[in-house]
């Protein structure tokens, strides 16, 4: 079996204790995925596993066996930025940039969750099939990704901008 990372196949690690995070960073040298706590508290390690967001520090690499992982490196490049990456620059949605890949991966999946009609704790009408993406909805859905530099306003602005729901 193989783990597909950004379209390329890799064998699972020999040591079953290796997290998906450490596989990416230490073995594949895909260091765009960050580590802030290694215990599921900060969101810096967020990647997409079959398009769903997961905390790679809490995911064993072997759990990704036969599945497809997308990291920040797979979303866009400096020459061809993903719309969220461009919006983060435009809205200054980061300072040190360390939480940034996790925020962008989380936002990518979050927008798909919204498009699929998945409710959040703030969603009033659970039966509605279209979710109105208010600023608070985005804030709530992004609250698993910590940022200590305090780039929160720029991050939410960038996401709303890309979601096409940006209201002044």
């Amino acid at each position: 079996m193989t783990i597909k990372v950004n379209g390329q196949d890799f064998p699972p690690p020999d040591d079953a204790r290796v997290s998906l995070l450490d596989l990416l960073r230490e073995q594949l040298h895909l260091t765009g995925t960050k580590v802030g706590c290694n215990q599921g508290a900060c969101g810096a390690c967020t990647v997409l596993l079959d398009s769903r967001r997961v905390l790679s520090c809490l995911t064993l690499a072997v759990q990704a066996d036969g599945r497809s992982v997308t990291t920040i490196e797979g979303l866009g490049t400096a020459e061809a930025l993903h719309p969220l990456q461009a919006a983060f620059i435009e809205h200054d949605g980061f300072q040190c940039g360390y939480c940034t890949p996790g925020q962008i991966c989380a936002a990518t999946a979050m927008l798909e969750e919204v498009a699929a009609g998945m409710p959040s704790y703030l969603t009033v009408d659970l039966a509605a099939d279209r979710i109105t993406l208010s600023r608070e909805e985005v804030q709530e859905r992004m609250s698993g990704n910590l940022c200590r530099c305090g780039a929160h306003n720029g991050i939410i602005d960038a996401i709303l901008d890309v979601a096409g729901e940006h209201r002044p």
């Binding site: 215990q39 200590r148 929160h152």
Partner: protein
């Protein structure tokens, strides 16, 4: 600092006081204050594409051949001795290369504690590291394992058996107050300062507030963990670190390991957040020593728990603020004193009374800090050390006075904001705090505030508005050097060891250099984060921008002279002296007759030179001693408090700043907001919990230490006066720490306005606001 140092600083101030302002740096304002093109522009970060694509390589992300991994064992006891140490199982565990304890750690000296005098004095502690069996605080490093993989190192750590004998430890702030020390100085300021007899004036005042305010310990919690990769190459040492002090670290490591400075290179091109916490601690020293022992590169990344255990944060404090006012609301006495922790082996005095010396006039003053000695991980500087918590106390007290007198809190401040430095009498270089209040109040809609607490309500929510002032000193550090290389194609490279932790260091200095050198932004490259480059001071005290800018000014002057000389007699600018030209349009032009212009490209080409390089150091920062130089702020907050749960929701936050020229509105706004958000954490949720019985941190994780999350952070409005400071490079003062300053009090004052409850101990958690 000692009495002697007090005297030295005092006499420098006195002498500088006599020197005419015109002779000092900033004596004539920086010409770029008037003439700027790139400065002041909304430039996006130059490193933005690298950071959003994950290509920026942080310290733990440099690929290294033959790398080994380390993990640490932390003491679970607070004071005592290691009696029995059994590492056999760890030694035999798969992949283990070496187990290091005090038995086999090479003998090393200790670090010089952080001081203002020597750039390489950067120790947060001068305790020995793995040198003996003694344990000084809970969490201290007592052993390390080096293995082939991180998983193997982490597992082997769990196999080490240590028996300790515990000794009595000082863990209770309240008890240790009895033996508190009174230092002669706090940083470079005299500690015990009196003007008049403040206690007597207080007792005679028409109106008195006299209360004690408490703030808890805090941790920096940069999202990037502390991590270091150390490797020896022959006699040389290469260190990939995440540090706010690149060049000073190299010097300190050279001293500690008996090397020449040139043998040590520290690289730190990106720092994933610092806030005062990314300095020199035990882990770097362990990694360097151990890398030599195993003869391989070693990477040592602290666990998040490890960060709490061995990287100190902000000390707790207990502060008394007493204000006396006359019938007209003018302050007659201001007393600010208190206790904070500073173990004898620590370096950070948490200067919470310094800010209060610089805002308000009063007929009399008394300031005094006492240091409490606890057996604890040494506390250190954390964003706006002193000011962040000092303003909570003073600005809460001012609000209490305004309420007691039935005066609007802004009017109360306006009546007392000083026109000169209240204690030293030195003139302010530039000071528009009153304007910051007026502008901020208007934009915020302060007039909607209802003075009577608890009067505004929407359903279960009570709504309140509050404000506070902030003040943070300007600093430009000595010892900033830069190198400018002008290339044959007319582009330039600026290089120095400065640090980038999210402030936009390169972005802003490229903007600066573009204007200074008369080049377009695209023609300038900025290299930083490497101790082999000309040395910059540490990033601290909101000083880096001014320090590096001062060095670029000096280097540009030198470059001008060199290029004039090189231009020779055939040049349109021949015969002009440095003072008669300026750098503009990619070359040198006469100020009097700008049509006399010679481009850098043609000067270098005529001289058959590929490039021209100059290195220079910034002038001594004497302006700091002649003038009172402070960034100031007015912070406004509107919030709701639930009657049912006591929960506080901050709806609006506005910061109105007076910090001189704003060099890049985009990155500056982000820094202001970032500071203010950390201020929201300080006000409402953040607290490092020490178990008083054991001295052990109980919430050593990001799940249990609550920093603000997206849903906690409202849209934050920031504005600024943008009045240049005539005494500083570019007219700018620091902006990195003023943002957090004052926020704690603005929130607490808004909570009072909402509920009538005065919370004097942070954080303002739900339990403190539950209806009685």
């Amino acid at each position: 600092m000692t009495k002697i140092q007090n005297a030295v600083i005092g006499s420098v101030r006195t002498v500088i006081g006599w020197v005419p302002a015109g002779w000092l740096p900033g004596g004539s304002p920086d010409p770029l204050i008037e003439r700027r093109a790139a400065i002041g522009r909304q430039a996006s970060r130059l490193d933005g594409p690298l950071k959003v694509t994950g290509e920026a390589r942080f310290a733990a992300e440099v690929a290294v051949d033959n790398l080994s991994y380390a993990a640490l064992v932390h003491s679970p006891i607070t004071r005592g001795r290691i009696m029995r140490l059994d590492t056999d199982a760890a030694d035999a565990a798969p992949g283990v290369i070496l187990v290091v304890t005090h038995r086999n750690m090479p003998r090393l000296g200790t670090l010089a504690l952080i001081g203002m005098s020597d750039m390489s004095a950067i120790g947060n502690s001068d305790l020995p590291i793995l040198q003996d069996a003694q344990v000084h605080y809970n969490g201290q490093v007592v052993a390390a394992v080096i293995a082939e993989t991180q998983e193997q190192a982490d597992h082997a750590v769990s196999l080490i058996m240590i028996d300790y004998t515990a000794e009595p430890a000082k863990t209770l702030f309240e008890e240790a107050k009895a033996t508190a020390r009174t230092p002669a100085s706090v940083l470079i300021e005299k500690n015990h300062v009196t003007v008049g007899n403040a206690e007597r004036e207080l007792s005679r005042s028409a109106h008195i507030v006299d209360n004690v305010y408490r703030t808890p310990p805090h941790n920096h919690n940069a999202i990037e963990l502390h991590t270091v990769t150390a490797m020896w190459e022959g006699d040389g040492l290469l260190v990939h670190d995440t540090t706010q002090m690149v060049a000073p670290s190299a010097t300190a490591l050279a001293k500690l390991f008996g090397l020449k400075r040139e043998q040590v290179r520290v690289l730190s091109p990106f720092v994933g957040g610092g806030f005062g916490g990314k300095g020199m601690w035990d882990h770097q020293i362990v990694a360097v020593a151990v890398a030599r022992m195993v003869g391989r590169p070693v990477r040592l990344t602290l666990s998040r728990e490890g960060v709490y255990r061995i990287i100190g944060g902000r000390t707790p404090s207990e502060q008394r603020v007493a204000i006396g006012a006359d019938a007209a609301g003018r302050f007659t006495a201001l007393i600010h004193s208190g206790y904070s922790v500073m173990p004898p082996y620590g370096a950070c005095p948490e200067q919470y009374t310094l800010g209060s010396r610089a805002i308000y006039d009063a007929k009399s003053f008394e300031f005094l800090q006492r240091h409490v000695d606890l057996d604890i991980v040494p506390n250190t500087f954390m964003r706006a050390p002193g000011e962040a918590i000092g303003t909570f106390a003073v600005e809460s007290a001012v609000d209490e006075m305004a309420h007691a007198m039935g005066v609007d809190p802004i009017d109360m401040r306006m009546a007392n904001i000083a026109e000169r430095h209240p204690v030293s009498g030195a003139p302010f270089s530039q000071h528009a705090l009153k304007q910051a209040f007026t502008d901020g109040a208007e934009r915020f809609g302060w007039n909607r505030r209802v003075a009577e607490p608890g009067s505004r309500r929407e359903g279960e929510w009570r709504i309140g508005i509050g404000c506070a002032a902030g003040s943070f000193p300007y600093a430009r550090m000595p010892g900033a050097n830069v190198r400018i290389t002008l290339h044959g194609d007319g582009s330039a490279t600026i290089a120095c060891s400065a640090q980038e932790m999210g402030m936009g260091t390169a972005t802003v200095q490229v903007q600066h250099a573009a204007d200074r050198l008369g080049l377009p932004l695209e023609a300038i490259r900025f290299e930083l984060g490497d101790s082999d480059l000309p040395a910059s001071p540490m990033a601290g005290g909101s000083s880096q921008t001014a320090s590096v800018a001062g060095a670029i000014i000096a280097a540009a002057e030198k470059l001008t002279g060199e290029m004039l000389r090189l231009a020779g007699n055939a040049s349109p600018v021949a015969g002009l002296r440095a003072g008669e030209v300026r750098l503009t349009d990619g070359g040198i032009a006469s100020i009097a007759d700008p049509s006399r212009h010679d481009s850098f490209e043609s000067i270098l080409a005529r001289a058959a030179r590929d490039d021209m390089t100059v290195t220079a150091a910034g002038s001594m920062p004497l302006e700091m001693f002649k003038f009172a130089m402070h960034s100031t702020s007015a912070v406004f907050c509107e919030l709701r408090v639930s009657d049912v749960t006591g929960e506080v929701r901050v709806d609006r936050l506005l910061g109105s700043f007076d910090c001189g020229t704003i060099l890049n509105p985009k990155t500056a706004a982000s820094q202001f907001r970032g500071g203010m958000i950390m201020g929201l954490g300080l006000a409402l949720t953040e607290e490092t919990l020490f178990d008083g019985r054991s001295g052990r941190i109980m919430n050593a994780s990001l799940a249990d230490y609550h920093i603000p999350t997206h849903l906690d952070v409202p849209q934050i409005d920031v504005m600024w006066t943008d009045i240049p400071d005539p005494r500083s490079p570019l007219g700018a003062r620091g902006i990195g720490e003023i943002g957090i300053t004052g926020v704690g009090a603005a929130v607490a004052n808004a909570v009072f306005n909402a509920t009538g409850k005065r919370v004097r101990d942070l954080p303002i958690t739900l339990d403190k606001l539950l209806p009685d």
